[in-house]
Assembly symmetry: D2
Homo-oligomer: 259 residues x 4
């Protein structure tokens, strides 16, 4: 078991009143337990909570007049059991739960159909968890972690070619390769104490052996020590903050520590 202490501070200015959609709280979900969870956004009206994608975590609607300042503090016990990836078998397609089906399909940042030839050439001899492990190792060995090398429009094809990016880019590539091999894969927003520099983190998650399993293609974090915030098809679905009018970042920090 790992206990994570999370502290996030966000400080933005808005030029006009706007709705904000916030998703930064660790989720009440399998494999983790909230010891404490405290979100404070003075001067911002909390409008309503709604379940996030696949019912994992919540999104919070806020109304921001001219500034958004928010502090989030949580203590989370992670008790996730992480079996060795290599031993996991592919789940027959017809045995997939209904909500996993669309994770076989291409999405905005993960145009998985375009990777089928590469996946067949490079990983065609493998299957199940061994295939995913080989994909993860290939991504980690082939790509360089370079903050600033990508932007909010970068998709998995861009990253596959440029071989540079950050956690979301690595995860987009692994998600795309997995789907190209007909293995359901989704993105997960997480907190990790192992990320340098400290920031929101994102990993891939694949459906094998009848369950979802996180995989970090950057090699930075251990899935046994991650606190899940939310899931989705790709970065589109797991944004920590979505604004419906322009806002300007003034300050942002994410600190995660063990113990």
């Amino acid at each position: 078991m790992t206990t994570l202490n999370v502290e996030v501070r966000l400080d933005y200015d808005a030029v006009e009143p706007t709705a904000l959609l916030l998703q930064i709280e660790a989720a009440e979900t399998e494999g983790q337990r909230m010891v404490s969870n405290e979100l404070s956004a003075p001067g911002t009206d909390e409008m309503r909570r709604v379940p996030a994608e696949d019912g994992i975590g919540e999104r919070l609607w806020l109304h921001c007049e001219d500034a958004f300042r928010c502090t989030y503090r949580a203590r989370i016990e992670v008790t996730r059991d992480v079996p060795p990836l290599e031993g996991l078998a592919e789940t027959p397609l017809h045995a997939l739960p209904g909500e996993a089906v669309h994770y076989l399909l291409p999405s905005r940042f993960c145009p998985s159909g375009r990777f089928e030839a590469f996946v067949e050439d490079r990983f065609g001899a493998l299957s199940g968890g061994a295939k995913i492990a080989a994909m993860r190792d290939w991504v980690e060995a082939s790509f360089s972690y370079v903050p600033g090398a990508s932007n909010a429009d970068t998709d998995a094809v861009d990253t596959f070619l440029s071989r540079r990016g950050i956690c979301r880019d690595y995860a987009h590539v692994l998600v795309s390769l997995a789907r190209a091999a007909t293995i359901p894969a989704r993105m997960v927003a997480v907190y990790s104490a192992a990320v340098t520099p400290p920031d929101f983190h994102a990993v891939a998650e694949v459906y094998l052996g009848g369950a979802w399993h996180m995989v970090d293609p950057t090699g930075m974090s251990d899935p046994a020590e991650l606190a899940v915030i939310g899931v989705g098809r790709d970065a589109t679905d797991i944004a920590f903050l979505t604004s419906f009018a322009p806002i300007a970042l003034k300050y942002q920090s994410v600190a995660v520590s063990r113990g």
Copy 2:
């Protein structure tokens, strides 16, 4: 009330055994009632049914050895109440049901963020149902319905520029314009007796006044007379047949009549 009689025939050859995902049955959903519903696929093993996107309709996993032949016959009473679009108000964002939130976001074929400038310029003075009606009328007036002008990779930007396409292309554009105006919008696969030439049909659906409302930007069909098959973010999610190995079309027909 309208009663629709549907008959679909599909005939495909497979070069190797493959899983198929079929979604052609009209859904048991609000506004329509199945009088009869009969799907027959001799020689193909039916593996399992799972709920489709948003729990509307079902997807059916099939195992196909070398050929897939399927007949679907249904009789559906459509009792949908269709209020005038112009009278519908925008639902405040924070009042949206959780499952509508991702229909505000860009998706693979509907990169809605790219249309914000155009939507603001052209439709910025309108709101709610009047805005959607103006978008629908603009699409219908500006575009030409040309089978063969688009393909499975065509997205809303392609269609916005080429101004030619089929129902899915029209719907992708309207869905993109609506989302660019911060109005939730999704794709709906439907049966319609008014489509020429007869085929599977697709329309847009927007969330206004606390409920989903179908809109057909091709102008061919009346939402009061449509039988819903399924919904999703864009064409990715509502494919009537997805094969996980190459298959070859031999014959396909869709017939829909009233009465």
Copy 3:
């Protein structure tokens, strides 16, 4: 006649020795006369000059060890005769000079084929110079000049949708619209005293009435008062500085004054 005084300063650091391709000198070409022209790049070896695209202007190969500092000063008399655009007829295609032919075709940043439907809808009733003038006026009226809204990968479709950009983006759109109307169009790098903030400037040039004619869709400059540096298919061909290894900008200024 207008006399322009140009002063450019460039200051870059290189992390490793690299070849540089520089194109900042005003061209010895029709409609302008060099009164003086002085390029100085202390510490950088000048390797060779080669004619630039269409024989207009020159590119200069330099070898840079670790830093590139360059000053360019010129005085140019512009005697260009600029007939009213509206009076210019389209040149029959078969009467085009051979070197104008590829300016009818799509290029990297000007995928003109994608604009044919829009051009036909919006400008189909016009021809020749009147058509180009209408396109220029539409671009100027519809787009906002926003430094930072685009980057080196932005193409004419991106700008057509976002409606924001800088001179190169405006020119890419006008070049694309012209080519979509089967009127040869190219990009021109120029010096202008009318650009705010002062910078390298780019305009479109169309082939009408048997000659090339510059058109500035930003509305900032008058073609009669521009000093041409070079031409090409799009921004790819008229870069003022191309490095074959990473270099870092330290300082850059462009000053142009009349008299």
Copy 4:
């Protein structure tokens, strides 16, 4: 020396009178000699010949009323000297002829900048002709020649991912890889007796050791036995027929034999 006999037949219908740009005649250029050359297009007015890209070959403007039928027969002696690729050194950039410079840059179908990481990873240890030979061998070994797998919009990134295509796609990839390694590369339209099925053929050409050298990444043809039609940045520039209004193919054949 090889002698090639070429016979081409084209038969198209036009729905309205249109200008056509035809480039199917073998070029009067170094390494090949026209023994005979006869182009006949009864019922189509020949308007004018202009030099094609880089002055290699000619483009022919035609006026077509309602149908275009054309026969081309030529006999060409190919005397091209083809040195072993592996022995060719890179030409220093500053020693490139001016007209080779833009062949270092990305173009519409050859977005070479996107391949730099892959080229450095895979071929970074090699240089000059040995590097090009390794790229050619990699393309030939990795890709499958599949007519119909690509279309007129397919670029080198598409093909790099799908690993399937025809001669133009293979050439686009090799041209892109070469440019990503700062070696000038262009497309060449050629006639070859070795192409199956018989058709117009396209290969890459790289500038090494002070001259252009053709390379066929499909492995089908020997550069010593090719008759050059024309050159350009990519498929955009070497189309055998460009129509400025819709035309419909009725029949087309290309036959090339030795002796």
